[in-house]
């Protein structure tokens, strides 16, 4: 008896993104399946964040095919946005709105019912409960990162895109983020984590994809990047 075909939740083929003269992404192929977390690794300017923005429906692809949950992101970006939870790499917060107002906006636009209990729980887990009604422009970088993860995870999305979620976050925040990734995996979501922190990527993800110069140079089991041998292999892929 043959195995049923596994359809990837994220299916990117030949993705190109150009901003004027600059080609930010030059032919990336990427597949990520349900119930798995994939690390997106690479140097600055490798195309990680731009790829994430395309998958989130924020930036349209210049060329190539990008399917998220079987939906073409270029054809129906709003439908893709319903399935995706996105933590952007920079900021990600409206400066003069409170965390609760961010959550209300997300809940309303995503048509969530009974979301308040989960929202409060997430805020408590990320130690943001005390500042739920404070304007975010006064937040530290780490607080902002943690709230961005909360916003991405609120609606338990089919695809969770976390761009630099550990950047400047304290150990408790890192643990809470790891727990969110594990929860998402456990309920069958596909998780994509872009980070420069190799050790955390290995802990959080089962597979890893390395980008260089806007293109994919390797795809492997995350364990292959662990230890000194993994560090050497990773460095070799970056050069």
């Amino acid at each position: 008896m043959s195995q049923p075909a596994v359809h990837p939740v994220i299916d990117v083929r030949g993705l190109h993104v150009r901003f004027g003269e600059v080609e930010a992404v030059a032919g990336i192929d990427l597949r990520a399946e349900a119930g798995h977390a994939t690390a997106l690794l690479g140097r600055n300017g490798a195309g990680k964040s731009t790829t994430m923005r395309v998958l989130a429906g924020v930036v349209p692809p210049t060329a190539g095919s990008v399917l998220v949950g079987g939906i073409d992101v270029a054809a129906d970006p709003v439908a893709v946005k319903r399935r995706v939870g996105y933590c952007p790499d920079v900021g990600g917060l409206v400066p003069r709105a409170t965390p609760w107002e961010h959550l209300q906006l997300a809940a309303r636009l995503r048509r969530l019912d009974d979301w308040e209990v989960r929202a409060r729980d997430l805020l408590e887990r990320f130690e943001l409960g005390d500042v739920a009604h404070r304007v975010t422009s006064g937040f530290s970088h780490g607080m902002g990162r943690r709230l961005s993860v909360v916003l991405a995870a609120l609606h338990e999305p089919e695809v969770l895109l976390l761009d630099e979620p550990f950047d400047g976050v304290d150990p408790l925040g890192v643990e809470a983020t790891q727990a969110v990734i594990e929860d998402a995996r456990a309920r069958g979501a596909s998780v994509l984590v872009s980070t420069h922190l190799r050790d955390l990527a290995i802990q959080a993800c089962s597979t890893a994809v390395v980008l260089r110069g806007g293109a994919q140079v390797a795809a492997m089991e995350a364990d292959e990047l662990s230890g000194e041998a993994g560090a050497d292999a990773y460095r070799a892929l970056l050069d």
């Binding site: 003069r96 107002e101 404070r134």
Partner: protein, 506 residues
Amino acid sequence: MPTARSSTDPLAAGWVRAVADLGHLMRFRAATVRRPRTTAVAVLVLLGVTLAASVGPLLVEGAGSGTVLEDHLGAMLAGFLVLAIASSMASGGGRELVPREQAAIHPIDHRTEHLGALVLAPLNFAWLLQAWLLLGVTARITGSDGWLGGQAVAAAWVVCATALAQVVGWLVETVRRTTHGIAVVRTVAVVLAVVGVGLQATHRLLPLLDALPTHHLADAITVRDGARPVVLALLALTAAAVVAGALPAGVALRRTPREELKVESGSHPARSLPSSDLAVLRRIDRGSVWRSVPMRRGLVVLALGPGLVALGGGMDWTEVLVLPALVVSGGALLFGVNAWCLDGRGALWRESLPVEPGTVFAARALTLAEWLGSAAVVTIALAALRAGVPSAVEVLALATTMVVVTLQVVAVSMSWSGRRPFPVQLSSARATPAPPIVMVGYSARLAVSTTLTAMLFSAAAQTPAWWLVPVMAVPFLLWSWVRLRRARGWWVDASQRARVVVAVAA
């Protein structure tokens, strides 16, 4: 004998370093101009208009003969100082040469900040308009005989008044940043406004302005002789003001900006979830506007300033018709010309939410229209206190004019916002939604188009044909609607929207 500057002269060394740093910062700003050719053309246009204002009146018949302008030149010179002070106060001491977020990592001295604010002061359309007016009136009064001396005095006064206003601006900002400073500044501002309106209402404001020491300057211009010592005295006063201004600038910049911190770290209790996508988007947009210090402060000045002038001057309804245009075009300069910057770095996350882009556009445009409309209503309410009971025709003309200029400004602003987005946080009272030279272009275009529109409607309202104003409004509304739809089409396009979002989130 050594002739080098003594190392024990830290004050002089500080100023030398400040001037050098100012040069570095100006070169940095110049290098980051996106369209250098356009900027060069804009600078040439400004210089051309200045030359025209200075020389043009000589070509008109009657130049050099005594006019009523001569009697009130002193008041006009004093008025320029008042305007410069108001501008400096509203902008928290003066505009930033480099945004606070970018400047924070650099060792930029308070003297450099002070000089930067002075250099940027002329990049303000109200300042330019008043300066051109003074040069033009001076040329008209002097004629070709004594033109050079008159222009030199007027130009020296413009520079001197700007430097003096900067000192006052920093002093007010110093007070504002003390424990009870906000309350003190507001109280003093209200008292001065009430006194000003009272003086104007009792016809004593103009005599008071005429009696100010600026009448000596006016005398120097009108007698067409003795300009040299006056210019030298003004330049000496300017130098003293520039140096003196650094002191309160240093104190103010060392103190915590309490108003900004209070507004931006405030708590806002949860409210019930709005019933529609548009409503929830508008709530977020409204919060972004009303929780910003420069926007709140700017709106208060814009709404109350013309309103108080109208109240004091006892304007009638045909004159009041022009006010909404002034207020609405000024209000758009507070954020409307770069409306997408309200989201700041949250733009990326907001764009990832599942909502039709047309709804997002509608929310932002409505928030802008509401903001502009509210300022205009306050102005009109103040003006109405002495304008008497309007006739039905006047009410119709006023409502029509408001709708026309508001739609006109919203359409233009949303169009510019989509085409030229800038990453601006608008957290500091000294921030502007676009670079200063761009703001001059925006303000000039808005002021000219809306004022001409309002003057046209004001003239139409004075004819016996009551239907003329609403009929005239139709083509204006249609054109603005087309422009707004075009701006919406631009935003709805995924590639253009991505460009805007990435730009404002940078």
